[in-house]
């Protein structure tokens, strides 16, 4: 029979409050909701009908009270059992090693916490607690048999999850949100490399239908109910005349190609060949796969034509559909859509007027954080985006350097291949079709190895030889990223012990109900860097890997996660060389490349400047806008995401004079120049932060009328309190809040740091385990990664007295999150 798991823990010590022997949890226990204090702005008497606006919330500690039936056989045993509870609670309040109350709703599936993943555990940090007994204590027969102990706790506001290191990722990974009604990701896709040969695939060109021809009743759609990507989709109606809606594409060869697009009917009903079909010189046999919320993905595979060919869709008379996300790729199967704005993708030339490339994706986790070579279990929930009959090898995971490789994949010949480095199991399965979801458990340990598919064992071997020498576990690809799955990882959870067949069966029946709803079971958190080595450089230009940003995604929880960031620079003398680090976060629903909003100036060649050049301008006392040309315009998508945010600018500049003053300049959509800030400059490049200003917020309700903001421009204005001299400007980079500034208050030669919340310390990178050392000064805002967001984390090292040398590298040695849950 299933029972809740509820344990008090402190470090390695535990007390099971529902062990069904001595302690029985009362029925009055329930997971408490988060305790948030909202703050509303009500406005003045002019606000007669609008009500109050939520300005902020603040989570505060909450009370939790529940009972535990304590069972004993003697008075002394009873007293000891009650005292044990109180003893545990009396240790609460130690921030260094807190007391936790760990809860899982059901003990019928897996009773231990996973090594990498969440699996439904809720962990409450206990700040204070007392245990008491009621008046039945005086009843002698109860005193020696059973008593109800009442636990009265004060706990932290949120339930926590299990700390989890972010996987190291690169290339065109993506969270699958296509067709999800609530916008929450369905899971992680680790796709292979690809070129999308459509040149305006999501109608994102300034002229929305640039390159598209055909139907006379093809119109631009901005209604968000019929949008999947970017700003526009095409609304197609065929009444008479030409039935096609196409771009002229020359795929360049006659190899097999696959054309795909997304379509949705106005009534949300199934899209079929009676509505629209794919077209490549002629109508093509098209398959239709529902992707949710009325959207269908249409695919067709055929031989390419080495000549310009009308590529798109053809309509059936008197039908109407919305179409978006076109792709033609040189493959015999469809892969996830790619266009140049996506993470790990790029336009080969002009944005939305050229083909797009997707860099091969890779996701891996250092083995210590994810893999126990002695025993364990990997649970995968996998959704096929291409049927196994079409894409005959779909890699699930790979443990590198592990003898003959510890791996699992769907293999050709309709099988699952699971190899522990020695033994290979190849149970046959019927080919899963596109859209099918499998729940797999790969178990290894003293009992051997077993493959479970949808709760049932389909193959096993009685012995397991522990692997060694591995470094990383690759999720969704081979080590060399030559083979992928392209499917959706709706869960990837690793346990560090064998699971029994009973546990697997119970686990399956528990989570299968989630996958039936096409929803994710567990997220796969990742840290993306441009070249996959988790590092950034100290500037940002269009050159490959010259980025000062990483992206974190797949963050579990439903509130900002407790985030541990560990990193170290390669500055010669660490914090002595560069004692100040700016770190800021943009948590966006849609990924936008930070490179697009950097003003990388040029004019004079200088190898030590970003982009190889800087810009020189004469600055006098006028407070002139003569350098308004330094303002950059970025597209409204970013502005939409940033409305209401505060912006400042980090400027790398070299002053040939003195008495320089700097202001933030926002020429549009609202002209605003901040107060000037006096700078102490030098005849050398330094890093300066301009004053913060706020960006326009969205007028309430405008979005409901499909009214979007205009493009957004920003820049700087310089002047001098006296004198005239040139200023050399290397780059101007917008900074948004939350902004964290770490600085070394003393001369510290170490290069690394650990950061969490409002604390940061340097670490001694020369000692194993990177032990904490001298505290860093922390100012600004807390950096905490957000669930369901592309968390773009940007950094610059340098300050007003230290040159922010552009070649300096900052390596994120570890980013780990502990999710926060508001309720469950």
């Amino acid at each position: 029979m299933s029972r809740p798991i509820l344990k008090l823990t402190k470090g390695a010590r535990t007390l099971d409050l529902n062990d069904q022997t001595k302690y029985f949890l009362g029925q009055d226990f329930f997971p408490p909701p988060v305790n948030l204090i909202p703050s509303f702005a009500e406005g003045s008497s002019s606000n007669r009908a609008g009500g109050a606006t939520l300005i902020s919330t603040r989570a505060v500690n909450r009370s939790l009270s529940f009972s535990v039936m304590v069972v004993g056989a003697s008075v002394r045993e009873m007293a000891r059992a009650v005292n044990d509870i109180q003893y545990f609670l009396s240790q609460a309040g130690n921030a260094g090693e807190p007391v936790y109350l760990e809860y899982k709703a059901s003990s019928s599936d897996i009773t231990t916490k996973p090594l990498w993943g969440q699996d439904g555990w809720l962990i409450y940090q206990v700040e204070y607690g007392i245990a008491s007994v009621g008046n039945e204590y005086a009843m002698l027969n109860r005193l020696a048999t059973n008593l109800i102990a009442q636990l009265s706790l004060v706990i932290r506001p949120y339930a926590l999850g299990i700390k989890q290191r972010l996987a190291s990722a690169t290339g065109g990974i993506l969270e699958d949100t296509i067709g999800t009604v609530d916008g929450q990701s369905r899971g992680l896709i680790v796709p292979e490399a690809m070129t999308n040969k459509m040149t305006n695939p999501i109608f994102g060109h300034g002229t929305w239908n640039n390159g598209w021809t055909g139907l006379t009743l093809a119109t631009q759609n901005t209604d968000v109910d019929f949008l999947l990507f970017g700003l526009n989709s095409a609304k197609l109606i065929y009444a008479s005349g030409t039935s096609t809606w196409t771009q002229s594409i020359n795929v360049g060869n006659t190899n097999t190609h696959t054309l795909s697009c997304y379509a949705k009917r106005p009534d949300g009903a199934a899209v079929t060949a009676s509505d629209v079909s794919l077209y490549y010189g002629a109508g093509k046999t098209t398959s239709y796969e529902s992707v949710g919320n009325g959207w269908y993905r249409l695919t067709a595979t055929f031989a390419g034509i080495n000549a310009a060919t009308a590529t798109g869709v053809t309509m059936v008379a008197n039908r109407s559909v919305y179409v978006d996300g076109f792709q033609i790729e040189e493959k015999a199967y469809v892969t996830p859509l790619a266009y140049g704005d996506m993470l790990g993708c790029a336009w080969t030339s002009t944005a939305h007027a050229s083909t797009s490339t997707r860099t091969v994706a890779r996701t891996r986790v250092i083995d210590d954080d994810i893999f126990n070579p002695a025993q364990g279990c990997i649970r995968i929930v996998y959704k096929f985006t291409v049927g196994l009959a079409t894409l005959t090898t779909q890699r699930l995971f790979t443990l590198d350097n592990s003898g003959t490789t510890f791996l699992a994949q769907y293999g050709s010949g309709a099988q699952i291949l699971y190899r522990d480095g020695t033994t290979t199991l190849t149970p046959a399965i019927s080919n899963p079709a596109e859209g099918a979801i499998d729940i797999l458990h790969f178990v290894w340990g003293p009992s051997g190895i077993v493959v479970y598919r949808n709760g049932s064992s389909i193959a096993s071997n009685a012995t397991y030889t522990p692997v060694s020498g591995q470094t990383n576990l690759y999720i969704g690809s081979t080590e060399g990223v030559t083979t992928h799955g392209n499917g959706i990882f709706m869960d990837f959870t690793v346990f560090d012990r064998e699971l029994s067949s009973t546990e697997v069966a119970a686990d399956y029946s528990n989570i299968a109900q989630v996958t039936t709803g096409d929803q994710r079971v567990g997220s796969v958190p990742w840290l993306w860097s441009s070249d996959g080595d988790d590092d950034v450089v100290n500037h940002n230009d269009t050159d490959a890997n010259d980025d000062n940003w990483i992206v974190c995604g797949g963050i579990p929880g439903n509130a900002p996660a407790v985030t541990l960031i560990s990193a170290e620079s390669d500055a010669a003398s660490g914090w002595i060389t560069l004692p100040t680090l700016y770190l800021w976060l943009l948590a966006l629903e849609d990924f936008i490349k930070p490179t697009e909003w950097v003003i990388d100036l040029s004019g004079t060649v200088d190898a030590s400047s970003s982009g190889g050049q800087y810009f020189s301008v004469s600055v006098d006392t006028v407070g002139t806008n003569s350098i308004s040309s330094l303002a950059a315009t970025i597209k409204f998508l970013l502005f939409k995401a940033l409305q209401g945010h505060e912006i400042a600018l980090l400027v790398r500049l070299y002053d040939e004079g003195s008495n320089l003053q700097l202001a933030t300049y926002l020429p549009s959509p609202t002209f605003l120049t901040t107060d000037f800030k006096s700078l102490t400059t030098a005849a050398a490049f330094r890093l300066f932060l301009s004053p913060f200003a706020a960006l326009n917020d969205s007028p309430p309700g405008f979005v409901d009328y499909d009214i979007n903001p205009d493009d957004f421009s920003f820049g700087i204005t310089l002047k001098r309190s006296t004198g005239t001299a040139n200023v050399r400007l290397d780059y101007i980079m917008p900074v948004f809040r939350p902004l964290l500034v770490l600085s070394a208050p003393n001369v510290l030669g170490s290069k690394g740091f650990h950061y969490q919340g409002n604390r940061a310390v340097i670490y001694n990178e020369a000692t194993a385990g990177d032990p904490t050392s001298y505290p860093l000064a922390v100012s600004g805002d807390a950096i905490e990664l957000m669930p369901e967001r592309y968390n773009i984390l940007l950094s610059l090292l340098g300050d007003t007295t230290h040159n922010p040398t552009i070649a300096t590298v900052l390596t994120y040695t570890k980013i780990a999150v502990t999710p926060r849950w508001s309720l469950l």
Partner: protein, 529 residues
């Protein structure tokens, strides 16, 4: 629906340029409160709260001009004086406190002089003995005069004793008015007003006798003047009957037009220019009423530089030739077309024979009750007012005014000590007339403030939002068919609103009502306490 307030806030960084408020923070402003007073004011204090993350950048800066409107109507104007960043676990935000521009005039030190009647002063340059001349041979008396008494020592011909005056302000002396008296006996002496700056005699007399002099400097005004007593022969004074004396002296400063400024209106207009240069007020003088009472020979004995502009203006404003009341304060910029700064007003309070608003004692907008006080207390009804003052010599003198009151009230007198603005019998008499004019009948007032909620009726019947009601307006209490006390039939219970405190949270306006006292009497009463 009843008239209702819809308050909005506007903030101006300069002139008519409103601040850029990209996050519409001002729309979040809540808890708006503002107050007015009359006389003075009119806009005194205001405050509001904006809920936000206090670490955010905000476009609100100290010193910016702020207007609170009800719809399009200006109901308060001032400047941002204080921003409190409230870090509150439950509710963080900023609390913005504002003051009316009137407040700044109390912190703007007067720089110009207009009429200086001092014979001596605690500061330098007020008729001091000039060491460079034969002052050692002369005795000076400056208690109510400038008196030269040559000592019985041998004086050479051409030696002189002198007292020197330097205006020491933004302008020079343009006119000197005084009474002289020279007594030389059988000797040869000369009394002279000398322009030190231009080394020229402006006036002199060399024979025994007295008279009045009114000297207007023709070409150039002078920063420094001497009164000199010359010995016109080698002689030794034989008795104290030989002297030179100056009394009833006024030194009038040159204004920007090259003439002197001698009336309250003209002086206040000049003060406006001074406040304008400090970016406090508009230069517009359209709201400064005409009071042509000539102050050349009265008042303003202390035209020093150690006082605030407001203090000085209050002193000047109250004097009139006919006992009429005059009040001064600051009105909103929009009181005159095209202005973006507040305007000085100078006016006689509105007569209570008319009214602006009407209130019934059983009206639902009246929140709570109030006391109507009719008073014949000794300080409220007076038969005689005696004004004590200090003359230019610093000696106490007095004048008085009498009026007939109802015998029912019994005779009562009041002695009022004037401030330094009154230095002559004429001035004291004028002030006494002013005071007693407002103390001939029963005094009635509202003992506690009246709180109105939502709206009030205008004289013409329409409902006016409570936020519009400001000090300086009149309100009539209905319900009493007969008139009250000594008031003439038909004037009713009409009160001048002397103070308002509007609270937007509950849309109430707390009105302090009463008959207007003259500033002088208020001051006199305070002094008496």
């Amino acid at each position: 629906m009843a008239a209702q307030s819809t308050l909005v806030i506007e903030i101006y960084s300069s002139g008519s340029a409103q601040i850029v408020d990209p996050n519409n923070l001002l729309a979040r402003a809540e808890g708006i409160r503002f107050a007015t007073c009359y006389p003075g004011g009119i806009y005194t204090t205001a405050s509001f709260f904006i809920s936000l993350d206090v670490t955010r950048w905000i476009p609100i800066k100290h010193g910016f001009r702020i207007i609170i409107r009800d719809g399009t109507r200006l109901v308060w104007e001032g400047w941002i004086a204080e921003v409190i960043y409230k870090v509150d676990p439950a509710r963080s935000g900023i609390e913005v406190s504002c003051l009316g521009f009137w407040s700044l005039l109390f912190h703007q030190i007067k720089y110009n002089r207009w009429i200086d009647r001092r014979f001596d002063g605690p500061t330098v340059d007020i008729w001091y003995a000039n060491d460079t001349s034969a002052n050692a041979k002369c005795t000076f008396d400056k208690r109510d005069r400038l008196m030269f008494i040559p000592k019985p020592e041998a004086w050479s011909s051409g030696e002189y004793a002198s007292l020197r005056y330097t205006l020491n302000a933004a302008s020079n002396v343009k006119r000197a008015k005084f009474t002289y008296d020279l007594q030389e006996g059988a000797q040869a002496w000369e009394l002279m007003l000398y322009d030190v700056q231009h080394s020229a005699s402006l006036w002199s007399t060399a024979s025994s006798g007295s008279g009045n002099a009114d000297i207007t400097l023709s070409a150039s005004s002078a920063a420094t003047l001497d009164f000199r007593l010359y010995s016109r022969a080698a002689q030794t004074p034989t008795s104290s009957s030989i002297y030179g004396k100056i009394t009833n002296m006024s030194m009038l400063a040159e204004n920007s037009s090259g003439s002197v400024t001698t009336t309250p209106t003209a002086i206040l207009q000049a003060c406006t220019a001074e406040a304008y240069s400090g970016c406090i007020l508009s230069a517009c003088t359209n709201l400064i009423g005409s009071n042509t009472y000539d102050l050349t020979d009265i008042g303003i004995v202390d035209d020093g530089l150690n006082r605030s502009l407001a203090d000085f203006m209050l002193e000047v404003a109250k004097l009139s030739s006919d006992g009429s009341k005059w009040v001064i304060g600051v009105r909103e910029s929009e009181a005159d077309a095209g202005e973006t700064r507040a305007l000085l007003y100078y006016e006689q309070p509105p007569a209570l024979t008319d009214y602006d608003y009407v209130l019934s004692i059983d009206e639902e907008v009246l929140a709570g009750g109030f006391d109507l006080v009719a008073s014949a207390m000794p300080e409220d009804v007076l038969k005689r007012v005696i004004v004590k003052f200090k003359n230019p010599r610093g000696l106490e003198d007095w004048s008085y005014a009498d009026k007939t009151i109802s015998t029912n009230y019994l005779s009562r007198h009041a002695v009022v000590t004037a401030d330094n603005s009154v230095t002559t019998l004429i001035g004291a008499s004028a002030l006494a007339e002013t005071i007693i004019a407002s103390r001939q009948n029963l005094s009635y007032r509202i003992g506690t403030p009246i709180t109105i909620k939502g709206f009030v009726r205008a004289k013409t019947g329409e409902h006016v939002p409570a936020s519009w009601v400001r000090a300086g307006k009149r309100i009539k209490i209905e319900n009493f068919l007969g008139d009250f006390g000594d008031e003439a039939t038909g004037t009713g219970f009409t009160f001048l609103i002397s103070q308002t405190e509007y609270n937007d949270e509950n849309e109430t306006n707390r009105l302090t009502l009463g008959k207007p006292d003259s500033v002088a009497l208020d001051m006199a009463k305070a002094s008496a306490r």
